[in-house]
C-alpha cells in the first residue's frame, strides 16, 4: 500500500503549459487565431455576469493587458463546462487551456480565497477527497454493498475491470447508494471487477480545470503510481470528472489504459442487460447530459439507450440537451463556490437546470455524474419541487429495474 509517510507532496512534474509559455504549445498558439466572434461569451452559462468573458480575455491577451483581467473575480464563474470550447468556430480549447490558467492568476490575486474552495483544495491534498473525510474510510461503503467488492490491495490478482469509484460515490451518502447500485449491476452481469479502495485518491477533478495545477499534478502522480501496481484490462469510472482527467490530462504521465465511463461500459453489455430489466417503472424520465461526459467526450446516446431499455420508461428531452446541455454548476471548482455565488446574488446553475427538467413534466431527473445527484436534489428542495421530481443515477434506475 502506498502510504503517506513520506508526506503528501511528491516531486515536481514535467513542464506544463503556462501563460508565459502559451505560444510554445500548439493548443496555446491556437488561442491567438480567435476571430472575436463572441460565441464563447454568448454560450457561457454565466457569460452575462462576467466582466471579462472568454472573448474579451483573448482580446486583452493580445493587447498585452491580461493583468487587468486578473483583477476581476468574474472568471471564478467559469464552471469549466466546455460550452465555449464546443462552440468555438476556431476550435480553441478555451476550457482546457486558457481559462484555467487565467483563473489561477485570478485566484492567486484574491485578497481571500473563498473559504469553501480553499478547504476543498486543502482536503484533496491531505486526504485525497474534497470533503476532508478519512482516507481510511474511502472503501467503508463496500461493507454495505450487498455483493462482494474486491479491493486490490487486499487481493491483488489481475482483474478485468478496475472501477475507479471517486470521492462522491465513496463518501457522500447519496453517492454511496449509487456505488452500491453499480456494484450490484456489475455483480449481476458477472463483471470481473475490483476497486483500489483506500488507496484511491481524487483523480484531481477535471484536471487543471479546478485551476490548482500543483495539486492536480500531485494527485495525478500518486494515482498513476497506484494504478501501476496492479494488472487490469480496463478502467471503468462512474465519475465523468475522473474520466475527463484520465482521458485528457493523465496522458501527460503516459496514461494509456483502456478507459470507459460506466454508461458506455454497460451499453456494451446491452444484449445481456436488456432481458434482466424486468421490473416495470412506468415513469417519465429526462436525462441531464454532464459536461465532461457528454459535451467534452460526446457520450450522448449510451445513457439514453440504457434508460429506454427499462420497461415503462418514457424518455423526454429538456430544451438544452446533448451538446447544448447546461452545466449543473459543479465543474471547475464550482462545486465549492456555491456560497460565493450565492453571496453575489447569482442564480445557481443547478436551479436553472432543474427548472428546465421540471418543465418537461418528467418524474425522474436521470444523471450520470456523482456531482449532480447532490446538486440537483438540493436545487429541487430549494425550489420546492422535491415532491414533483426525484434524481437518480442511470445505474440506480437499472439496478431497480433488475431488482438486484
Amino acid at each position: 500500500m502506498v502510504t503517506a509517510n513520506h508526506g503528501v507532496f511528491s516531486p515536481p512534474a514535467p513542464p506544463d503549459i503556462t501563460l508565459e509559455n502559451l505560444t510554445e504549445f500548439p493548443e496555446g498558439r491556437r488561442v491567438l487565431t480567435c476571430i472575436q466572434c463572441g460565441t464563447c461569451a454568448g454560450t457561457c452559462p454565466y457569460g452575462e455576469l462576467m466582466q471579462y468573458p472568454p472573448r474579451r480575455i483573448i482580446g486583452m491577451l493580445r493587447a498585452g493587458e491580461l493583468e487587468k483581467v486578473f483583477t476581476s473575480d468574474s472568471l471564478l464563474n467559469c464552471v469549466a463546462c466546455y460550452a465555449c470550447t464546443a462552440k468555438c468556430p476556431r476550435g480553441i480549447d478555451l476550457t482546457g487551456v486558457l481559462l484555467p490558467l487565467v483563473k489561477e492568476q485570478v485566484l492567486l490575486r484574491l485578497p481571500e480565497m473563498p473559504a469553501e474552495l480553499q478547504k476543498a483544495l486543502e482536503n484533496k491534498l491531505r486526504y485525497g477527497n474534497p470533503m476532508g473525510e478519512s482516507p481510511r474510510k474511502r472503501a467503508a461503503w463496500v461493507k454495505t454493498a450487498g455483493v462482494p467488492v474486491r479491493i486490490l490491495h487486499e487481493d491483488p490478482r489481475p482483474v478485468d475491470v478496475l472501477w475507479f469509484v471517486e470521492c462522491y460515490s465513496s463518501y457522500y451518502p447519496r453517492g454511496q447508494q449509487c456505488a452500491r447500485a453499480i456494484a450490484k449491476v456489475f455483480h449481476a452481469l458477472g463483471v470481473d471487477f475490483a476497486i483500489l479502495g483506500n488507496e484511491e485518491k481524487c483523480a484531481g477533478e477535471c484536471g487543471r480545470l479546478s485551476w490548482e495545477r500543483g495539486l492536480y499534478n500531485t494527485l495525478m502522480e500518486y494515482n498513476m503510481l497506484v494504478l501501476g501496481k496492479y494488472q487490469f484490462k480496463r478502467i471503468v469510472t462512474s465519475c465523468p470528472h475522473a474520466y475527463d482527467a484520465f482521458r485528457y490530462r493523465y496522458t501527460a504521465l503516459k496514461f494509456n489504459y483502456d478507459l470507459m465511463h460506466v454508461a458506455p461500459f454497460l451499453a456494451q453489455h446491452f444484449d445481456r442487460l436488456k432481458p434482466m430489466l424486468k421490473r416495470k417503472a412506468s415513469c417519465t424520465v429526462t436525462y441531464h447530459d454532464s459536461c465532461c461526459l457528454a459535451r467534452h467526450s460526446s457520450v450522448y446516446e449510451e445513457p439514453r439507450l440504457l434508460l429506454q431499455a427499462i420497461p415503462g420508461v418514457k424518455l423526454v428531452e429538456m430544451t438544452h440537451n446533448r451538446v447544448n446541455t447546461i452545466c449543473c454548476g459543479g465543474g471547475g471548482g464550482g462545486m465549492w463556490l456555491d456560497t460565493y455565488y450565492k453571496a453575489k446574488g447569482y442564480e445557481r446553475l443547478s436551479e436553472r437546470r432543474v427548472k428546465e427538467a421540471i418543465a418537461t413534466g418528467a418524474d425522474i431527473l436521470a444523471v450520470a455524474c456523482p456531482y449532480e445527484i447532490s446538486r440537483f436534489e438540493d436545487a429541487l428542495k430549494v425550489l420546492g419541487y422535491e415532491k414533483k421530481m426525484i434524481v437518480r443515477d442511470i445505474v440506480e434506475l437499472l439496478a431497480e429495474a433488475m431488482e438486484v
Partner: protein
C-alpha cells in the same frame, strides 16, 4: 521586524483516535499529525505583520511526523526560515515541549532577541493554552494570550494587541517588545498556498535541523501519563416530538423536573 512562530504538530482528528495497548498513549499506527490550527493563525498573523512592517519570519517546530510538509508550506507562504528541533521523541507534553522550544531558540546564535514570538493560543492537546505563557516565562518576556489583533509601533518598540475574554469582553493592551503572543485568530483566515509553490519550496529551500541543547532539567517536571481513556459515552439526546405547543409543555416539564425552573 523579527518574528518567530512556534509551530506544533497535533493529532489529526479526521482519523479516529485509538488507544495504544498500554492504555497510556495514542496508538500511532494510523495516527496522522497536522499543524495546530491556531499555530497556522499565528503564522498568518506573522506573515501579515511582515508584509506591513517588513522583516523576517522564522518558524520553529519540534520534530514530528509530517512536520516537514508543514514547514515547507510555511516557507511557501512566505516564511524566511524554518527550523526543526530534531531530538526528542515527539511525545513531549506541553510543558516539556515549551521548555525545549525556549531552550533551543535561545541557544541559536542571532535568533534572539526577536520582536515577537507568536504561537497558537491553544491546541487540541493543550486546551489550557500553556505554550505561550511557559515560553514567555522561560525567556523572561511579557506574554498575552487569546490575541485577535496585533499592530506594532516599530519606533517605540511597542505592540498594541486585542485580547479576548469570556462573555464577549475584549481588552486592548500595550506590550513592550520583545513579547510572546498566543494567537487566537489572525486578521485574515490562513492563506491558501498553491501546491506548486510548496513543491518549488521543497526544491529551492531547506529546513534547518537544530539539536536542542542538553537539558539541564531547568525544573521541568515531566508528568507521566498513568492512564488514557476514551470519553465515556453518555446517554443519547432525548428528541421531543409533537406540535410546538406540546414540545414547549414537555420542555417545561423536563426543566421543572430537573429543578431548573
Amino acid at each position: 521586524m523579527k518574528i518567530i512562530v512556534l509551530l506544533k504538530m497535533v493529532p489529526d482528528v479526521v482519523e479516529e483516535l485509538e488507544l495504544a495497548a498500554d492504555g497510556k498513549a495514542l496508538d500511532t499506527e494510523f495516527l496522522r499529525m497536522i499543524a495546530n490550527e491556531l499555530d497556522n493563525h499565528a503564522l498568518e498573523e506573522a506573515l501579515l505583520l511582515k508584509e506591513k512592517y517588513s522583516g523576517t519570519v522564522t518558524v520553529v517546530a519540534l520534530d514530528a511526523p509530517e512536520v516537514d510538509d508543514a514547514l515547507f508550506t510555511a516557507l511557501a507562504k512566505g516564511a524566511d526560515q524554518a527550523l526543526k528541533i530534531t531530538d526528542g521523541d515527539g511525545t513531549l507534553g506541553t510543558r516539556a515541549g515549551a521548555y525545549r522550544l525556549a531552550q533551543t531558540i535561545s541557544s541559536i546564535p542571532g535568533l534572539l532577541p526577536a520582536d515577537l514570538i507568536l504561537t497558537g493560543a491553544q491546541a487540541i492537546d493543550d486546551l489550557d493554552g500553556l505554550t505561550a505563557p511557559l515560553v514567555s516565562h522561560l525567556l523572561r518576556l511579557p506574554q498575552l494570550g487569546i490575541v485577535t489583533k496585533v499592530s506594532v509601533d516599530t519606533t517605540a518598540g511597542v505592540a498594541t494587541v486585542l485580547r479576548e475574554f469570556p462573555g464577549g469582553v475584549r481588552g486592548e493592551y500595550e506590550v513592550k517588545l520583545p513579547a510572546v503572543l498566543g494567537i487566537q485568530a489572525a486578521k485574515k483566515p490562513p492563506r491558501y498556498v498553491p501546491v506548486a509553490k510548496v513543491r518549488a519550496a521543497m526544491k529551492s529551500q531547506a529546513i534547518q535541523s537544530v539539536v536542542a541543547p542538553t537539558a539541564a532539567d531547568g525544573g521541568v517536571c515531566l508528568l507521566p501519563v498513568e492512564e488514557m481513556t476514551k470519553p465515556e459515552v453518555t446517554e443519547h439526546a432525548q428528541m421531543l416530538q409533537g406540535s410546538p405547543e406540546e414540545i414547549a409543555d414537555q420542555l417545561c416539564e423536563i426543566l421543572a423536573a430537573r429543578g431548573l425552573l
